[in-house]
């Protein structure tokens, strides 16, 4: 440039001396000029462009020479003063700052001010000459960008959504604060394997969804995964995985957005459980209605017929016979009503209080009650139950269940071989499992499995079989949230397995 100017001295002269060029430059390059007397800070002047920038039309420009001061934020003016002072001391410093000014309509206008300090010969004059450029738009853009950034960062770390990213190998590359906070991990999670934070059982499910991300990265893939929470509990989270592609179209990261569905799943399970209980009860009610129809009606049918026959009977022998049958029939009806009452009682007491009981003690008690029969039929009894084993049960139900299963084993013992009854108990994750095994006559389960625990079902041609024992046992076990299963083979024996549900 300097060479160019040197080659054209007349141009150099024009630039420095021609007021047309000067006006053009000051009006087109700046949004205002500012002269400030550094020896008398109240004295200063701004040009017409300055007023124009602040929204004043030519005829609105204040006549007061000091009016410009009121348009600049006092704090900014003070800062400008400080910088000007510094520049006065050290000529190598540059004056460059942003002044907040007030538009005629009250809105803020940001003016960037670059200035030079002109010093008189004998320190008697010192002027700041500032060129002002309106940077309001940039300021707004900056503020907007800041707002957007704050907005997104607040979304990323908000209170209910987990946001994280992993690389193609499944190592964390980003986790939001909420995720860290919830799962009690530090930010040094970055770079570690995300798979390790998932319970082992759910890892294959996670890998499968990751594979889907590789196959179709643009589509969100959903999965529910369980992770251990920092208090040790397991939380179920619903995740959406999406592949993030690199420039070459290859998958570089996986974006995972998740939220807690533990409560949702718990409620779902609770609803499902309620539904199960309801359908079970419904089934029992139907069965009950059937029993009432069958048993009470069969007795009532007999009574009706017998009364009719009695009325028509001609001989005394006949009369005596029918009267005897009438007596038996009424007795049976009474028994049936007692049985039905037993069953209604179980179904009415779903929430009977449970108590901790020693299983061994209760088994011994049941065996004691049946000891006469057991000795009479020479049945050997083995009990492999630890005396310390505790079950949480409705005590009356446990007594009834033990009595029923053991007396069944006695009743249906084999007559061909020495009979035995074995009671064993073990603990599995659900609770205590009791098995009652015999080598008795057995039941043909191929034929009777679906009816085994049904009401008024009997499977042997036994005179005193009422067909309510296993039905009541099953009801009692289930009323305690347990389960009962049977294995049996004709001529070999039967094994009944009861799973107690401890927590409930």
């Amino acid at each position: 440039m300097s060479t160019f100017i040197e080659q054209h001295p007349e141009l150099a002269a024009s630039i420095t001396q021609n007021s047309v060029i000067y006006d053009f430059l000051q009006n087109s390059l700046t949004d205002g000029l500012w002269y400030w007397n550094l020896l008398s800070p109240t004295e200063g002047w701004v040009n017409a462009t300055f007023w124009q920038t602040l929204g004043y039309a030519a005829d609105q420009v204040p006549t007061d020479f000091a009016a410009w001061r009121a348009c600049i934020e006092p704090i900014d003016l003070a800062a400008a003063w400080q910088q000007a002072e510094a520049c006065l001391q050290d000529p190598t410093l540059r004056f460059d700052l942003v002044l907040r000014c007030t538009h005629r309509q009250g809105s803020p206008v940001w003016l960037r001010c670059r200035a030079i300090v002109l010093r008189g010969d004998s320190d008697r004059t010192a002027w700041l000459v500032g060129a002002l450029v309106d940077v309001t738009k940039e300021k707004h853009r900056e503020a907007y960008a800041q707002e957007v950034a704050t907005h997104y960062s607040s979304i990323l770390s908000n209170q209910s959504v987990y946001i994280l990213k992993t690389d193609a190998q499944g190592n964390y590359t980003y986790v939001n604060d909420f995720f860290c906070e919830r799962f009690g991990w530090e930010h040094d999670l970055i770079g570690t394997s995300s798979l390790l934070s998932i319970i082992e059982e759910d890892r294959p499910k996670c890998l499968e969804v990751v594979m889907q991300c590789f196959q179709a990265p643009e589509v969100p893939h959903q999965v529910i995964l369980r992770k251990p929470y920092r208090d040790g509990s397991i939380k179920a989270n619903h995740w959406e995985f999406k592949g993030l592609l690199g420039e070459g179209g290859e998958l570089v990261e996986i974006l995972c957005v998740g939220y807690d569905v533990t409560l949702l799943l718990e409620n779902l399970h609770r609803a499902q459980h309620l539904l199960d209980v309801t359908s079970q009860q419904n089934l029992r009610l139907q069965n009950f209605a059937y029993i009432i129809s069958h048993n009470i009606r069969s007795h009532s049918a007999n009574l009706t017929s017998l009364v009719q026959l009695l009325a028509e009977a001609k001989s005394k022998v006949q009369k005596t016979m029918f009267l005897q049958m009438l007596t038996t029939s009424t007795e049976q009806l009474a028994d049936t009503i007692v049985n039905l009452n037993d069953i209604v009682t179980i179904n009415n007491n779903v929430s009977k209080p449970k108590a901790a009981r020693s299983l061994k003690t209760d088994i011994d008690k049941a065996l004691e009650a049946l000891s006469v029969l057991i000795h009479q039929h020479n049945i050997s009894v083995e009990v492999d139950v630890a005396p310390t084993l505790i079950v949480t049960v409705v005590p009356a139900y446990l007594d009834s269940i033990l009595l029923n299963l053991i007396s069944n084993a006695v009743k249906y013992r084999s007559l061909d071989r020495p009979a035995f009854i074995r009671l064993r108990a073990q603990i599995n994750p659900m609770g205590v499992v009791l098995t009652v095994q015999d080598n008795g006559r057995g039941i043909d389960l191929v034929r009777y499995r679906s009816k085994l625990f049904g009401m008024y079902k009997t499977f042997h041609d036994n005179e005193d079989a009422r067909g309510v024992g296993l039905f009541i046992t099953k009801n009692q076990v289930e009323a305690m949230q347990g389960t009962i299963q049977a294995e049996s083979e004709v001529g070999v024996g039967s094994t009944f397995t009861i799973q107690f549900h401890e927590s409930a």
């Binding site: 129809s293 069958h294 009606r297 049918a301 499977f459």
Partner: protein, 136 residues
């Protein structure tokens, strides 16, 4: 219509069995009525009778809910027998479950479905059915 000779009453309740036997003899004019407290026995005897061609019953009155052999199983087994003569089966049950009545219609051997007690109405229906089937 010839006088029917023999009826089986398959019924596990002894009192019901005796009552039914008395009514079948008296009202349906059967000469002999045999009662069975379990279906297996009834079927075994029926099978022997069919093989020998003697003492085959004209009518079987079948209860639905009994031990050892379910009423339906009896009917399934019954339908496999090669019969030289017609044996009519009536179901006589205390069940009022519609499913049972519906299921019974699927067995062509079952000529009638009756709910206990075996009162006047049921007896009249049986008489009518017996003469109808007998004429056919």
């Amino acid at each position: 219509m010839k006088v029917p000779d023999l009826a089986y009453v398959v019924e596990d309740d002894r009192i019901t069995a005796v009552i039914t036997k008395v009514i079948v003899k008296k009202e349906l004019c059967f000469r002999a009525v045999q009662t069975f407290s379990n279906r297996q026995q009834a079927f075994d005897q029926l099978k022997v009778a069919v093989q020998k061609g003697a003492n085959v019953p004209d009518l079987i009155l079948l209860d639905l809910n009994m031990p050892l052999m379910d009423g339906w199983e009896f009917l399934d087994a019954f339908s496999t027998l090669a019969l030289a003569q017609r044996i009519r089966v009536f179901i006589l049950t205390s069940s009022i479950q519609p499913e049972d009545a519906e299921k019974a219609t699927h067995y062509k051997e079952v000529k009638g479905y009756f709910s206990k007690p075996l009162g006047k109405d049921n007896v009249q229906r049986m008489q009518a059915l017996l003469s109808e089937v007998g004429a056919a």
